[in-house]
């Protein structure tokens, strides 16, 4: 996994090599590493016991904090889940380890840490099914692949239908999903009641049926960023936080690197994975993206005992709910209708979300909300993402995930990494090129993308 570069081991590495944490039987050359990436202790029951004996005072840092090098093969702009996943697959599958991930704030501090952690692949069109289910399949092995528990829980995801139109919509989409070989079941209101016994089916908008994806569920969002960061670091990727990109150096239509708050960083290729700020970065590079940035907010309640063991979402009343492993109810709704970079939502949206939730689940009426926050979602007109080459050569953009990017994190990173490495878009990513807004080949997922982000 770690290729030796024949160079001397830096003093920084010394404490990490000889300790009992170094895996036994590792060939000597593997202890020499690219740059100053280091050998990580593998997390296991044994490392847990060993560290318990020293009162958990000796866990090593999960990743380094290196100074930027003058040049990299690939620079990824944006240290959220998608950016880190891109770097991970570049290093792991494409053999490109001379990579930097540049993050303006802290890792996973943007939408990765602000979403409601829902994972599903119940999308209408073939192109989306390929992309989102690719991601769900990678989710299923992610904790093992990363040696990091991302707490992926396929607890099932219910999509409620409250009127005739909803029934027609889930009918059409449910069959389309099945034709794409993805699990999808139609269930009756009685079956919904069995899964969520306290639901009020006879509410103002009565529940008429539901679409169930059993492989859907939730994951621990911070762990995704941390797990990828740790795995990237182990393979020699430099993760540089508190480093804002202020411009791109473009010569003869080819990108040569990025200007940052920590100086110029040269790069043969640049991948921008900046979510809500994609338009700002595109403007720095001299073009515009078909995006608008809207605030989307979410809430968590005080922790409760286990009460709801599926994810329940509803398009018609626009609220969705699940319970975290800490016991908090995680609740989200629709975004604000005006563009903003404020990372706050408007107050009236809180009422728009809380009202339907209480109507559907009267037992939550006196639950106290503990935190509320907003993230900036980069929304395209067809509610599908943009994975694309750009007018600037060797500059790639992965954006437009709008309100639903978290679920796609590993799949997005995987196909984007292969696209950057090859210089041509991966077959799964190709339909999501920005050209579709000029050719008219839109991938309209308004119904599937509208809720449960």
């Amino acid at each position: 996994m770690i290729r030796g570069d024949g160079g001397p081991q830096g003093p920084r590495d010394a404490p990490f090599n000889a300790g009992p944490g170094a895996p036994a039987g590792r060939p000597g050359s593997d202890n020499r590493r690219m740059g100053d990436a280091r050998v990580m202790t593998k997390y296991s029951i044994f490392s847990l016991v060993r560290n318990a004996l020293s009162y958990h005072q000796n866990w090593q840092r999960a990743w380094r904090s290196p100074d930027p090098k003058p040049d990299y093969d690939v620079v990824i702009v944006g240290g959220g889940g998608h950016g880190l996943a891109t770097a991970y697959y570049l290093a792991k599958e494409c053999g490109i380890t001379n990579v930097a991930v540049i993050e303006k704030g802290w890792l996973g501090g943007g939408n990765t840490g602000r979403n409601t952690t829902i994972v599903r692949s119940n999308y209408l069109w073939d192109e989306s099914a390929a992309l989102y289910d690719h991601a769900v399949r990678l989710w299923e092995t992610m904790s093992r692949d990363l040696n990091y528990n991302v707490m992926f829980s396929q607890r099932g995801l219910l999509h409620l239908a409250h009127n005739v139109h909803d029934m027609q919509e889930i009918g059409r989409r449910g069959h389309a999903i099945k034709l794409n070989g993805i699990d999808s079941e139609f269930i009756s209101p009685a079956q919904v009641k069995e899964m969520v016994p306290f639901i009020n089916l006879e509410c103002r908008y009565p529940v008429m049926g539901a679409l169930l994806q059993r492989r859907g569920g939730t994951a621990r969002h911070d762990a995704v960023a941390w797990g990828y960061a740790r795995a990237c670091d182990q393979m020699g990727v430099d993760i540089i936080q508190n480093c804002a990109v202020t411009g791109f150096k473009v010569e003869g239509g080819v990108v040569k690197g990025v200007e940052t708050s920590r100086g110029f960083i040269g790069a043969k290729k640049v991948g921008v994975v900046a979510a809500g700020h994609s338009s700002v970065l595109a403007e720095m590079a001299g073009f515009r993206m078909p995006l608008e940035s809207f605030p989307l907010q979410a809430f968590v309640s005080e922790p409760l005992k286990p009460v709801i063991d599926v994810v329940v979402m509803s398009n018609a009343i626009h609220a969705y709910i699940s319970q975290s492993d800490k016991g908090e109810l995680v609740i989200g709704g629709s975004g604000d209708p005006y563009i903003s970079y404020s990372q706050r939502g408007s107050f009236d949206q809180i009422e728009h979300v809380a009202g339907p939730v209480v109507e559907l689940y009267p037992i939550f009426s006196r639950v106290r909300m503990m935190r509320q926050w907003g993230g900036i979602t980069d929304v395209t007109v067809d509610r599908s993402p943009i994975l694309t080459k750009t007018p600037v050569e060797n500059l790639f953009f992965n954006c437009g995930w709008g309100t639903g990017g978290f679920k796609a994190t590993p799949g997005s990173g995987h196909v984007f990494a292969h696209s950057i490495a090859k210089g041509e878009m991966h077959p799964i990513a190709a339909p999501f090129s920005m050209d579709r807004f000029f050719t008219g080949a839109l991938i309209d997922e308004a119904a599937a993308a509208a809720v449960a982000h």
Binding site: V280, P290, S293, S342, F437, F438
Partner: protein, 116 residues
């Protein structure tokens, strides 16, 4: 909640309004003469600025009229609103989005910005 100034009705709460997106997008005079890229840009591509944004609102639960407004997209503070057809008021270059036009003028004692 945002307080929005309707040019006809004065300051009202945001729930009375609906957002209409970027303002001052003119339909091309001769769509048939446009390339696919130009037409796609007209339909789908927006400025989406981090900063000063000229945008449309409609007072849907009030007088029902459309109007334009200037807002800072980081602070969500409105510089000013103006009627359809009026020239947009351009905030001064040093406007950081913390004050409205009236507050800015009261503070600096100068007219805030130019009528473009």
């Amino acid at each position: 909640m945002l307080i929005i100034k309707c040019p006809w009705c004065g300051d009202r709460e945001q729930i009375e309004f609906s957002a209409g997106g970027e303002a001052h997008i003119a339909r091309p005079e001769d769509p048939a003469a446009l390339s696919d890229e130009e037409w796609g840009a007209y339909i789908y591509v927006r400025k989406n600025p981090k900063g000063v944004h000229f945008e449309r609102w409609v007072h849907s639960h009030g007088c029902g009229k459309w109007f334009n407004a200037v807002r800072h997209t980081v602070t969500d503070v409105f510089w000013d609103s103006y009627k359809m057809g009026e020239a947009p008021p351009t905030p001064p270059a040093d406007w950081d989005g913390a004050t409205t036009r009236a507050q800015y003028e009261a503070k600096t004692g100068q007219p805030g910005g130019e009528q473009a």
